[in-house]
Amino acid sequence: MAQTFSRPAKNGAMMQRHNGMLLNRFSQGFFILLGLFVVYVLGRAFLQNPKVFVEQVLNGLQLGFIYALIALGYTMIYGIVKLINFAHGDVFMVGAFTSFYAVATLQLHRWPTWLFPGVSEGLMILIGTVTVILTAMLFSATLAVVIERFAYKPLRSKPRIAALITAIGVSFFVEYFGALPFAFTNNYITYPRPFEVNVYSGEMISPLLVVGAWVLFVISLLLSGWFTWTSRHGNVQAQTWKRHPLLQFGLLFFGFMAVVLTLTGVKIETGGKVWDLSVSNVMLIIMGASILLQTLLQYVVSHTRIGKAMRAAAYDKAVARLMGINVDGVITATFALGGGLAGAAGVLYATAFKQVHHLMGIIPGLKAFVAAVVGGIGSIPGAFVGSLIMGQTEVLAAGFISTPMRDAVAFSLLIVVLLVWPQGIFGEPPAEKV
């Protein structure tokens, strides 16, 4: 990062050059002051009305979980093909529209009642919603694979700019083909949710649930800690157990669940102010689905053959090919996985915001890419953490700093993070090749 103007002084005379440390400290102080100002604004908002602040944090969490699903696709595709897949946001959009047609036209979320008329309402909704999400994932994965086969694959040997321009072209094509009257039309369409939205306030959440979530979280935490401890003391088996997907899922899911349920389930009255937050089932479903899919992806990448091949291809494509890995197949699989996750994200996004539009994929797509970069491109936990940061930044900025500037703040985050950590938070430093 240290760049200096090392030009010799004029007239041949040697100029006395001083250490620039003081200037660096000055600028650091300047930016720390700016940061403190932001902290002050947020802290004041929190103290003035903690309830609204926590509600905003929960909204940010919800948005972050959706971004995480999109960002995972971006980070995997960029990790392997080194291509900003601009069309990823449109795959997300197609996922949302697939679920829209599945729900509004085909009534797919009610299919259990066609076969088994006596099925209970709750079970039907559960199965139906899962079906809708899976359908959208399947469609999006297919679209992503088709895009990869027909647009990106022929260009793999061409210069990188060709693939990038193609990505932009594909993105435009999907967006504006969607705008045609016989496709999705260019209107904002209200999205019918496959399930009713229930808002749970403090009284409706039984303390048993809260305690249960905490107990499960603490159990997974203890297990994880125990495996870490034993693996340090020579137990090789414990290392694999530590990375077991179920354990990871338990840690993340019950951890977030416990915090959210505690925040909403607790009712406090202090000085006339009542703390009773409510949480909607949409939020909980988004959280669960996002964490589940992310853990599944982590499992696929770290425990299966195709995942191993993916990691090898991301590390070095040419050598991976020499080792007998079908790199083209791996790339196709990556696009399918990423597209599927984007499709699921599309369904969740449409469910949360109750609207679909043919350009809805652009901004979430770009923000998810920014989130992936912030977390460290190529890293799955990085994409997850980056997306959560992104969601919080965006929602808090919109809530307490300036509503129209939410996009601006989100993109400023990219610049700031990259200047502080050039590889992102979880990224590995690139191999220096000269």
């Binding site: 760049q3 001083h18 660096n24 300047f30 080194k82 900003i84 504006y176 993109f411």
Partner: protein, 415 residues
Amino acid sequence: MLRRMRKSTVYFIAGGLIIFVVIQLLLSLGILNNYWRGIIFWGAAISMVALGLNLIYGFNGQFSLGQYGFYAIGAYASADITYRWVHSDPSGIVVVLFGSLLTLGLYVAVTAFLRRFYGVTVMARFTFYILATILAFAIAVAGLVPLLGPAVNSILQVLPAAISRQIVFFVALLGGACLAGIASFLFGIPVLELGSDYFGIATLGFTIIVKVLLDNTDTILPFPEMKGARGMIGIPQWTTWPWVFASLLLVILVMRNVLHSSVGRAIVSVREDERAAELVGIDAATTKVLAFVLGSVFAGLAGGIRAHDLAFLHPQSFNFIQSFNPLIIVVFGGLSSMTGTIITGFFWIFLLEGLLRLYLPEGFETWRLVVYPLVLLVMMLLRPEGLFGRYEIPFLRRVLPPLPTKTVEIQEEAV
């Protein structure tokens, strides 16, 4: 004198004169109506924007999507100057012109100051430059407007109206270009450090930020005359063919001469290999900032031209979907081919906004945006180096040293 010039120069001057006279005649005789006049002017503006991008991306290898942000800054700034002048308020001229001059002076001072130190980080340099900018414009707004405003006003009032109008227009174009340059300088210092793809996304973010700010000019920014998301109206329609032609010619000449000079060779060498360029003593960071600022100044100038032709500005026309246009034009025309960029720029507008809009049957307008990505895809498959490849007309071609003939491959490595 003619004999001492190179043949290519003579042809270039002759060709330029013919084009100028023919289009001026067509416009004066009314053969080309206002619609086609707008198309030609728009094509020229887009060509300037794309030339700027070609300098940044084609010649310097920095993948930028922020060109429309600077275009918007130039358009709004110059429109604001003339708008205020028409409403007998010279503050726009004073602030932008003298503020920019003051900023440039302070930049020189800051650069000289920073040169006395070693080990200054990018953020520290950025802090000093941004403080200098804020100081300069604060002085301009608070001190110079009451001081110089009446003087500027009276001088311009003394002159005949037609002349003072041209002077104001010139100042407006200059001011728009200067502001775009200052913005790109401040943005470029930290962001050009990021590297190719991240730089692209950051510039895309810049375009989005500019668009958001333009949507809120009357609420967040203190410019009620820009009317935020409703669009700025009441801009005088002062752009004439000589102005357009002169601006385009200026951009072409400046770019050609920069590229043919040692600075231009430094710019190209940074594209070919940044580390190797630094090893032979080229200051890569400064070179990148220079190319970026110059390209953005072109975009700002084009913005001024476009604003005073359309007489209406709307933030939606600067959204980031549009900001892919210059990139597509540059790639279509051929990276690092000025000729290709100019010709494609004109044809882009001519086809997409002229012919297809007029002659497609009713209801097929949305098909334009479906067909052109397809054309783009086919083009990328069949001829990824662009229509013109590296072809240049002889005047723009470099005489010494010859370019290597290998295809352009920019930043093949991972970031």
